[in-house]
């Protein structure tokens, strides 16, 4: 059977097979560490620098150049391993992983193999709408260097190589095959990304390749304890791509097994365009890499004092922050979940809440208007022109009655556009709330004249029309009228 044949899905068997089999998934996540310089040399790690400008004799693999490990890499890797509840090994060994590829100038990648930095951890995910809370065991966390970048489609007939990324520090986080559905894989990845973001070990930017996921997936009969033959999925550029690829590959394997065929162990590439997998190359077993201890690098020793220091320096983690938001700010579970999903959003909320003091209102605005503005502008919150103190000022203006809720939304939209303060915009645009009875009565008289039938019916007892008429007054005042006072004055005027 050819490789090509194995990826064709006998679709007729899909529905039968998928019900009889269980998905088994393990994930390998590569995370670029947030360091200024590379793992084994002093070149910068900047993303987006002109090609082959962040290179030196060490990361180009020039003869005689020797690697020296970046201490911050060790500390960041430890931070992640400790947060993942791993066992930290006091002695770990760097190995050479040999393969030949143009973007690997030394002909080997410095990695860790049989003696990694940390093993036997776990990551617990919360229940979501689709998945129950679960704990996924972490097999290992190890340090390695990245390869360079090959660009195959820039120039006709040749491949273009950029070695800026060669030697950039990574950790690889390998899970046990404890994941049983595509949704659970997504939940694990989101929890891991959130944890790494809180730990500040990586910018976890998938678009820039700071977080890359490979998935090992197999199917086995429901109730079986042995694992089926796995395939490895690559080219997964987003968490939703991971979920879709897992579902597609599981369906393909189920169809094969249901039709009495067997799954071939191989590496597959996800093609988002066709929503299908295609074979990459035959699976290389680990011994193909001819691992051996790197003779240039003595063992990495991690003493207890270092572990203790890193542990003591761990920032507040998502679960603890969630609990604190519920306790300190009196938020519900949903609000606490939303506001802690990203560390930076939570910090923004905290600043607004501290300055404005009404934490529930602050939460509603950050979850609603602020997030909507960020989404509309595709901005990260650290680049949002509206500072937390400015949102707090806006909420203060609403609380004092200077701005109506409607006007506040208009002011906020202008704040997001211009970066100006709420009070400046309110004054400039004439949006301060009007509570002067004479002005309100004038608008009311105009509305009654323009909507006489409704006003008459309201006066005759159709009290529900009062709200409609208040709405007309608000519209006429461009949101500036004090709606409570309008309601009172209108009721008096119509005698209801």
């Amino acid at each position: 059977m050819s490789v090509r044949e194995t990826v064709e899905s006998p679709r007729a068997a899909d529905s039968v097979a998928s019900g009889a089999f269980e998905m088994v998934v393990g994930l390998e996540v590569h995370v670029q560490l947030l360091t200024r310089t590379k793992a084994f040399c002093r070149c910068a790690t900047d993303f987006g620098a002109p090609p082959n400008t962040n290179v030196c004799p060490v990361c180009l693999g020039l003869p005689g150049a020797l690697p020296v490990l970046n201490e911050h890499v060790v500390d960041l890797a430890l931070r992640a391993a400790i947060a993942l509840d791993c066992e930290i090994h006091p002695v770990s060994i760097f190995a050479r992983k040999n393969y030949f590829y143009p973007d690997l100038p030394k002909g080997y990648q410095i990695s860790q193999y049989d003696r990694p930095l940390a093993t036997a951890g776990r990551l617990t995910t919360d229940a979501t709408g689709e998945t129950a809370a679960s704990t996924v065991r972490i097999t290992r966390v190890h340090i390695e260097e990245d390869a360079g970048k090959s660009v195959h489609d820039r120039f006709a007939g040749v491949s273009a190589i950029d070695l800026n990324r060669a030697g950039v520090p990574l950790i690889e986080i390998v899970s046990e095959p404890d994941i049983r559905s595509a949704a659970a894989a997504g939940a694990y990845l989101r929890a891991l990304k959130q944890l790494l973001e809180y730990l500040e070990v990586s910018d976890v930017n998938m678009e820039e390749g700071s977080l890359r996921v490979d998935a090992n997936v197999s199917a086995r009969p429901v109730g079986a304890s042995t694992l089926g033959t796995k395939t490895e999925l690559k080219n997964l550029n987003s968490f939703s791509a991971v979920e879709r690829a897992l579902d597609a590959e599981f369906a393909r394997q189920c169809a094969l097994l249901g039709a009495g065929q067997r799954v071939m162990q191989q590496t597959l590439l996800w093609d988002a365009g066709s929503a299908a997998v295609r074979p990459a190359r035959s699976k290389e077993e680990s011994h193909d890499y001819r691992y051996f201890p790197d003779p240039d690098l003595p063992p990495l020793l991690v003493d207890r004092a270092r572990i203790k220091r890193v542990r003591n320096d761990l920032p507040e983690l998502p679960a603890a922050r969630k609990a604190r938001y519920r306790e300190t700010f009196g938020l519900g579970a949903y609000d606490a979940d939303v506001l802690t999903a990203e560390r930076s959003l939570g910090s923004y909320f905290e600043e607004v809440a501290r300055a404005h003091r009404d934490s529930k209102t602050a939460a509603n605005w950050v979850m609603g208007e602020v997030r909507a503005a960020l989404n509309a502008r595709r901005l990260e919150i650290d680049r949002f022109p509206v500072r937390p103190a400015d949102v707090a000022e806006l909420l203060d203006l609403v609380a004092s009655g200077t701005l109506s809720g409607t006007a506040a939304k208009r002011v906020f939209a202008l704040m997001a556009e211009t970066g100006d303060r709420a009070s400046q915009i309110a004054a400039r645009e004439g949006l301060a709330q009007v509570r002067d009875d004479a002005a309100l009565r004038e608008w009311i008289e105009q509305v009654i004249a323009e909507h006489e039938p409704e006003a008459t019916r309201c006066a005759r007892g159709e009290r529900k029309l009062l709200g409609v008429l208040v709405g007309f007054v608000m519209k006429k005042s461009k949101g500036r009228a004090d709606p409570k006072r309008v309601n009172q004055l209108l009721a008096e005027r119509l005698g209801v």
């Binding site: 910068a44 090609p51 290179v55 020296v68 490990l69 970046n70 002695v91 120039f155 080219n235």
Partner: protein
């Protein structure tokens, strides 16, 4: 830190153990005492204690996360067979005619 009767009963229930009120009371006192002792132990400074797994071993030297980079004596273009727009150019591998990620 103390362990309450409710916590003892909860743990017993999780472990599917039947436990009498008398035994639960005793377990709560014992567990509280153990935790109190653990609190004392955590105050011991063990950083210089003998017997660490790394004692006597020679490990690698670490460097601070700082530049500047080691300069190249010549720019990459001097020793690259072919460069275009800053990229090194290599023949496209027969196995990678389609764009795809490296191993």
């Amino acid at each position: 830190m103390s362990i309450s009767l409710d916590e003892v009963r909860h743990i017993a229930a999780l472990a599917r153990l039947g436990i009498s009120d008398e035994r639960a009371q005793l377990a709560a006192e014992e567990l509280t005492s153990i935790l109190a002792h653990m609190q004392v132990l955590t105050r011991v400074d063990d950083e210089r204690a003998a017997g660490s797994d790394t004692d006597g071993k020679t490990g690698m030297t670490l460097r601070p996360d700082l530049g500047p980079p080691i300069p190249l004596l010549r720019a990459p273009a001097f020793f690259a067979p072919e460069m275009r727009e800053g990229f090194f150019l290599v023949p496209r591998l027969a196995t990678h005619e389609d764009p795809e990620p490296s191993p």
